[in-house]
Subunit: 242 residues, 2 copies
DNA sequence: AAACAAAACCTGTATAAACGAATTATTGCA
DNA sequence: TGCAATAATTCGTTTATACAGGTTTTGTTT
C-alpha cells in the first residue's frame, strides 16, 4: 500500500475527520496547503478529497474551501456496504453470528431461474441456501446461485464458513463488481419457516449479480432480511456526475 | 455544457452502451484509441470510464481492455436515485402522480425532533407531511422538516407542486449533498390511516439529511414507501476505494 | 458607513509526459 | 506442435503546468 498516494491521503483525512481533528462544519486547509502537508501534487489531493465527498465526509464548492459535513452516528443494526461476505459484514458490525446451510445442490438453470438470476438457460449452478443467525436469532435468509464452472468445489463446509474466502484465497478468483437492488416483499412460506419473523410480514431483499475480473457473472445473490435488522446507507450529490 | 469534456465522453459512452453499440461482454476501444475518437488526453477518458465503472456499466482490469457489463433491465417500480424531488422521480419513472398536503406548520425542534433530524434544539422548522399518489393509489407518505431560516416562504401550494423547485429557482439555493439511509419498519397508525397498505404491515423508509452548498443542513426527509412500490439500485466494487 | 470594483485566493478541468504493473500477443526454440 | 521467454499493449498512478470560473477579501470611492 505504499503505492496509491491518494489512498494514504484519503485514509488520513478520513481518520482526522472521524476523530474530529477536522470537526463538523469546519473547513479543511486549501488544496495547495494539503499538497505541502502530503508532499504531492494538487491533482492527487483533489482525487482523495473527491472520494471523501462521495462518501458524505466533505463538501466542496468552487471558489470556497472544503467543508467537513461528517458527524459520527450511532451504531447501526446491520449496515450494508461494498461487496462483502456475511462474515465480513458481521465482523464489521460487531455481532456474534452463526450460519446454517439448509441446502446445497447442483441445478441446471431453467427459464425461470435464468430470468431471475441473469445466468443462461442450461448453465450449471450451485443452489445454496443459508440461514444467518445473529445474536442467536435467525434473521437473514440467503439464497445464492453460483456458476459451477467458475466456482467448482463448493462444499457444505465451505458454505458454512465463507464462500468468498474460498473463491478468493483458494480459487484465486478476483471479484470485481456487484450490481445490487434493494426491494421489499411479503414473506413467503419458506421465509416464515426458516426465519424468526415475529410480527413482520415483509422482508427487505438485497439481490445482486456479482462479476469477477474476467467479466463473468459467477453469482446471483439474494439476501432476505428481517426489516428491523437491516440498514443501508448512501450519499447522493445533486446534478453532478462526479 | 461545452465545458466538462469528460462529461460528454461519459454521456456518449453511456448512450452507446445502452443502445448496445457497445454490447454486453464486448470490449471498448483502448483508452488511447478513445483519446483519438474524442480528441482529448488519456486522463480525461480515464475519468469518464471510471464514472461508468462506478455505475455498473463497465469493468476494468489493469493490462486488459475495458469490458461492458451493462445489460438493459426491465422498468422499475419506483427507482430511487440521486437527490431528486418526488416530482422528478415520478417523471423519470413515467408515472402519473398526485400530491396531497396533509400538514404544513411551524414547529420548534425539541430534543426528540433534534435527535431524529439532526437539527438543533430550538431550531424553527416547517413540518410538512404529504401523501404521494401514483396511478391513483396512495403509496408514499413523506414527512419532511425544513429549516425555516434557509427555506422561508414555503406554502401549501408550493408543497403541493414542488418544494425543490421553489428552493432552487425562487430562493436560488444550491443543493449539494444528501446522506440517506434505507430501513424498514412496522407501519404506524398514521401510515395505515394515510396509505393504502393492503396486506403489508411494514414500510420501507428512506430517511436523510440534505445540505446546501453553504454546508447548512436545511432538510430532514423521511419517505415511507409501500414495499412493492420501492426499488433502490446500487453498484458496489470490491476492495478499491475508487 | 455603505457600496462597488479590483485583487487575491480557491476549486474545476484539461493537457502533456513519464514510469509502473498487469495482461496479451509474438517470437524463437526444442 | 507445445512451451517458455520476450515484446507489445493496456491500464494505474503521479508529476507538472495552465487557464477558467467561482468566492472571499481588500481597498477605494461615494
Amino acid at each position: 500500500m505504499a503505492k496509491r498516494k491518494f489512498d494514504e491521503i484519503y485514509t488520513d483525512l478520513k481518520n482526522k475527520i472521524e476523530t474530529q481533528e477536522y470537526s463538523f462544519n469546519s473547513c479543511l486547509p486549501s488544496e495547495v496547503e494539503l499538497t505541502k502537508i502530503y508532499g504531492c501534487v494538487r491533482g492527487t489531493v483533489h482525487r482523495a478529497v473527491k472520494a471523501l465527498i462521495e462518501r458524505g465526509y466533505l463538501q466542496m464548492r468552487q471558489g470556497s474551501r472544503i467543508r467537513v459535513i461528517f458527524e459520527p452516528v450511532e451504531r447501526n443494526i446491520f449496515r450494508v456496504g461494498g461487496i462483502e461476505s456475511f462474515k465480513e459484514a458481521a465482523l464489521r458490525n460487531g455481532f456474534t453470528y452463526f450460519t446454517k446451510v439448509v441446502k446445497l445442490e447442483k441445478v441446471v438453470a431453467d427459464e425461470e431461474i435464468a430470468t431471475k438470476t441473469g445466468f443462461k438457460i442450461g448453465d450449471e449452478l450451485y443452489d445454496v441456501r443459508r440461514i444467518r443467525c445473529i445474536d442467536g436469532k435467525a434473521l437473514i435468509f440467503d439464497k445464492n446461485y453460483f456458476l459451477i464452472s467458475a466456482t467448482k468445489g463448493i462444499t457444505e463446509e465451505i458454505a458454512e464458513k465463507s464462500i468468498y474466502d474460498y473463491l478468493e484465497n483458494t480459487l484465486r478468483m478476483k471479484i470485481a463488481t456487484s450490481k445490487r437492488r434493494i426491494t421489499a416483499e411479503l414473506a413467503t412460506a419458506e421465509d416464515k419457516n426458516f426465519l424468526e419473523l415475529d410480527d413482520y410480514n415483509c422482508l427487505v431483499i438485497i439481490s445482486g449479480r456479482v462479476f469477477n475480473a474476467d467479466g463473468i457473472q459467477f453469482e446471483y445473490t439474494e439476501s432476505r432480511h428481517r426489516p428491523d435488522y437491516f440498514c443501508f446507507e448512501d450519499t447522493a450529490t445533486r446534478h453532478k456526475i462526479i
